[in-house]
Assembly symmetry: C2
Homo-oligomer: 404 residues x 2
Amino acid sequence: MKNIAVIGYGVVGGGITTVIEENCAKIRAAVGDDVCVKYILDLRDFPDSPYADRVVHTIDPILADDSVELVCETMGGSHPAFEYSVACMKAGKSVVTSNKEVVATFGVELLECARENGVMYMFEASVGGGIPVIRGINTALAGDRISSVNGILNGTTNYILTKMKTENRTFDDVLAEAQVLGYAERDPSADIDGIDAKRKIMILTALASGKLVSDTDVFTETLRNVTVEDIRAAEKWGGAVKLIAGSVIADDGIQAHVCPMFVPWSCSLAHITDVYNGISITSPVTGDVMFYGRGAGRLPTAGAVVADVCAVLSGAAKAERIPVFEKAEGSVKLFDEIGFRCYIRANSGRSELCEALAAYCEGTEVLSDEAGVVEVITGKLTKPETDKIRAQFAGIESVIRVLD
Amino acid sequence: MKNIAVIGYGVVGGGITTVIEENCAKIRAAVGDDVCVKYILDLRDFPDSPYADRVVHTIDPILADDSVELVCETMGGSHPAFEYSVACMKAGKSVVTSNKEVVATFGVELLECARENGVMYMFEASVGGGIPVIRGINTALAGDRISSVNGILNGTTNYILTKMKTENRTFDDVLAEAQVLGYAERDPSADIDGIDAKRKIMILTALASGKLVSDTDVFTETLRNVTVEDIRAAEKWGGAVKLIAGSVIADDGIQAHVCPMFVPWSCSLAHITDVYNGISITSPVTGDVMFYGRGAGRLPTAGAVVADVCAVLSGAAKAERIPVFEKAEGSVKLFDEIGFRCYIRANSGRSELCEALAAYCEGTEVLSDEAGVVEVITGKLTKPETDKIRAQFAGIESVIRVLD
């Protein structure tokens, strides 16, 4: 019998006990023993749960019980998740988490703590729900140098974009409905302002490069300003608007960003609809590999936690190299230095806009020019350049970068 | 220094030395040591290669050299790949292969041999080139019960279908061009008659279920009869024609098949074009997960071999549960028992066809009825039923199953 504890008995934590019950035979085969949830730490009681007698309200009994080999941290937030995880690892227990915030913020320290204490710190469930992308980067691509990662990492925003497109509705309208249906939070900022996706791309970039960039180094643009006109323009151009979390890993630095982008149909990410997530990884040897699936939800996320639990308890994870994250300070390439082709829509004359753009880039193509509205795909422009163009040119309605 | 040998120095074998050279720093970090290709077994000499002095023409010096920890088998074919692999494992060497034929044919015996000799037998590169699908099933989904696998597992046929669609050309025409360009073999049967895809779905199904079905249990239908009319009909219906290798894993048996299918746009596999591969895996906990990438090619396949080499030499793979394959005898569900909705095109009257179909299934929908040609999507029909309908109804031009 292998004993584990679950700290934070919310949506994901509750899913863990369900998954362990439902798949007990398969888990026993993987681990070589039964897995028992011995403690559940939560501030609440769960008198109607079959696990009511396992509930504790402080971390102390878990830390004190040497029979607990592993702790699943599904609390969310940085604190006290960070402190509890460190305490568990110092007490010789491996930690498996679904908490992207704590990994993105304290990944360097948490992985270092695991190494120092000879235990594992696993976080497959922190990105992409049940999609095994962390494991993919960490094992299958272990011998390859990853040059870029691009993903649709937030299901809520992808659902909103899908509805806007298929039902021709405004952002605000779809968001309000998603809130009523429970797909979006009452305060939707973490999703629609790209904060959730930012944490996930920080984690993926750190795995791919060894360098964890800081929160403030990731350029993050909200989805709030995307309109149905933008989506129709992307269709006319040959693609879709998606909230892309991307990073470039090059010899001269690492750069990560989250922003709405025009994604061409030739890129698989353009075809990902509804709440699905997809992560495309490019490396010189393997080429493009994409992982796709339901990026969130109780059971898929809990399933990813349980997969990590199986890996640790079977011994498979012990032999796996614990990834090393270093702070990326000094290796960061600024977003402002990177040029992107851009979609620009303006209330102006065609020649007027094209002339203004010609001062900054070559190769601008006109997408349409009707009824006083001109739409173009520009050559490569940096953010300072698009800022200047917006400032000097009053008629600009929209600027959206292109994923090339 | 960790010594390895490569047996079979063709496209993939040659790629292995390239990948090891190009990514030596990353590989050293993963393995904790340098990796050296000490022997290359091939019938040919390679006097101009920097590895000319490593070439041997029999397996004996490799078997006799205890410093060789691992052998990469990239010979292809069942014999002598099987015998050489067994001899290497009996000599205490792990084996990593890209050879789908030998895994599909002798997977039960090869994995048993690995367990008996305390070594690893790894085959990530046998399916999907650089796409880490084997590892995904074997680790990330280790605690979940997979209920179905559906994949586009052959790049050549997907390339042919893509060209037929986009350039409105016949199967024979595109195949002939693909042969000239080297994308298809002079004898294209392994690709276009589904033999290659069959071996791959046998391997994936065995990983997902523990049961290796035999070659003759996999219903396999050629792509040769698919026409541009079929592809246009799929578009009209709302999807694409794809050569799907699928399997269903249920309590009452396992069933695997390869056949052209109508795939709806709502399924990610429909969007996979050109030589790309995709594998969609369904399980109750994780939902649908898809893996996507370049399914073949020298460097992606060699990269997958090298990823397995890193896993074995770093010790990561030793702790991984070696999958157990058992012969599926007795657990096979016959293809003939499974009903699929079907696209049927016939030179006949609408009511005539619909009446004939009504004897076998409910819910047939008419897709079009023009100029004496009627197209329908039927209710669920088994293969014996479609055979009977074809026999009794002379005007049928095409029958293609639907992926639901």
